[in-house]
């Protein structure tokens, strides 16, 4: 039983991270119609910035996290200016290629900066565990769950309750009309990228302590987040978050009960299986709702 609890909570924590990353590129997608393939490398960058602030600037972990979030927000805006804005109005895949190029650039800059040998970002609670239902759960996992839930709720609030959110939803529903109504696509696009990058940083500082930090560390979680987004239906934040969490849990169960060495492929096997029967994902965007 304790094994089950451990696996489930680990899965929930994983899923929470995927949800945060997925949230980032779903936000960008809703606001700009673009898929940001650099999201994973933004996560990597976020972790490294936090590490630098902690190790080199000798800031506290909390402050380092904040530094990472702010730095990434700026990076996101820059990324938008360089790779997305000049390609505004071009076909979606052109921007995909450009963001892929940006991912490469970010990754190689990280390698240049900090090298390729694995590092470790300490967690807020070190390796302390707490007992839950008979299992010893790393407190970091609980932090992840709490922080992710908070972040998700904040973003949901943002989208529903603020002017920014309304404008994003308007753009997502009908871009042309929204523009005609005076919504500034430029500003919104930058804001969306900045926010997505900030979320990437949050995810990074939460999950980095649980594994080794290498320059490719963010790429895998991004792919899982993609899988979650595809399964959950790309336009709906709630659906994507739910799918991400489920994916995380199923992945941990499979790792624990089937074969740990294939841990990384379970979400994709599931995704491919789902796509085979439902090529538009489990919860496809409705035709009427043009996202």
């Amino acid at each position: 039983m304790s094994r089950f609890v451990l696996l489930t909570i680990s899965g929930l924590a994983d899923g929470a991270i995927y949800a945060l990353i997925a949230l980032g590129f779903v936000l960008i997608y809703k606001a700009t119609g673009v898929i940001n393939f650099a999201q994973g490398d933004l996560v990597t960058l976020g972790a490294y910035v936090a590490l630098w602030a902690y190790q080199d600037l000798r800031l506290t972990l909390a402050t380092s996290a904040l530094v990472a979030v702010l730095a990434l927000a700026c990076t996101g805006a820059v990324l938008e200016r360089v790779a997305a804005a000049p390609l505004r109005g071009r076909s979606v895949h052109v921007v995909v290629i450009a963001t892929l190029g940006a991912a490469l650039v970010i990754r190689s800059l990280v390698i240049r900066w900090k090298g390729t040998s694995p590092q470790r970002l300490p967690g807020f609670f070190g390796f302390r565990t707490v007992e839950v239902l008979g299992a010893r759960i790393p407190m970091q996992n609980l932090l992840i769950l709490g922080a992710a839930a908070l972040a998700l709720s904040l973003v949901a609030l943002l989208l529903q309750g603020t002017s920014f959110g309304r404008q994003v939803r308007a753009l997502a529903t009908d871009r042309t009309t929204a523009q005609l109504m005076g919504i500034s696509v430029d500003r919104l696009s930058m804001a969306a990228f900045a926010l997505a990058a900030a979320l990437a940083a949050v995810g990074a500082v939460l999950v980095a302590p649980t594994q080794q930090l290498t320059p490719t560390f963010g790429f895998g979680p991004m792919l899982f987040a993609f899988a979650a987004a595809i399964i959950g239906g790309f336009g709906r934040i709630g659906g994507v978050a739910l799918a991400a969490v489920l994916l995380g849990v199923l992945q941990q169960w499979a790792t624990g009960y089937i074969d740990p060495s294939y841990r990384e492929i379970y979400p994709f096997v599931l995704m491919l299986g789902i796509l085979a029967v439902r090529p538009k994902g489990l919860l496809p965007e409705q035709v009427g709702q043009r996202v």
Partner: protein, 355 residues
Amino acid sequence: MSELSVDPAGAAGGQPTAPATVGPVRPPVYAGRQGLGLAAFAVALAVIVVLADSPYSQGLVGQWATLAIAGLGFYLAFGVGGQFSFCQAALVGLGAYSSAWLTQDHGLPFALGLLGAVAITAVVAAGLFALVKRCDAFYFAIATLAFGFLAVVVFREWSSFAGPGGERRSLPGISLGGDELSGRSSAAAVVVVLLLALGLTLLVERSPLNREAAAVRHLPLAASTFGIGVMRIRATMFVAGAAYSGAAGSLLAHRNRVLSPEAFDIELAIDIFLVLLFGGLGSAWGPVLGAAFVVWAPEQLRFIGRDRDLVFGGLLIAIMIFVPDGLVGLAGRVQGLVADRRRGRPAEPAVAGEA
């Protein structure tokens, strides 16, 4: 139809276009002098191989030819078949490991290893396609990206197939009739396979498949109303492209003689992608040129060194911004692939119409 009177000047109702010299015209499949071009190219390659004296230059030739074959595979899948896929690198890896497994673990000669690699890769690709064939272009791309990632993990973990941790060493080299080829002959062997692959691709371009594939790329819905088997053509091109990748992988394995899973991750996929980006999507000669650039440029521009990714990444961005449809026509082609996803309407506005 007897009521129609043929009026060459005004029948079209518009300005007459420049009259072509009509007469006994040959069907499109005869058009072009590709045979001569291929022969000339073969001669040029023979000269290059003869001139390649050092292991370094032989290595370069082999590298270029292998990448060109993989590029041709991507050209078939994407340039002809219209499917933007990210799994080419993984398929090259599958070919490499299959060939290694067949030769090193089962003692088969290189030729059978090569054929086996082609067959295994084609079958796996067919299976993958069957899973995701109904997906739209974007999900298809992500699914193949995921497959690529998945494959590298499998190479790392499935030791009975790929070796411990995916590491294989001391692989046999390319051999012909029991004799292992080395240096120049080995490079020549790869070049021969390239010529074969190029020739086959040119044959596809000179066949009814060419026009049907063009229809599938540009107007898939209308094409289905003409009776063209859209899914069949996409599947054929995807699997054929995979077969090419498998061959490239086998050649790679037996030239490098070592294998590790990281060689087949996203970076190789981007390399293959760059091959098509630089070389152009327009014809089978594109990958040949593009591979030359991707292999040659880092060598010439040594100062790039470990910043290769940086430069190529920046190049990707710059090309997308400044050379929109020009250099490659990629953007225009890709645009045709993706339906107006944000609006959920079908790709061909003529079909959606005004309800």
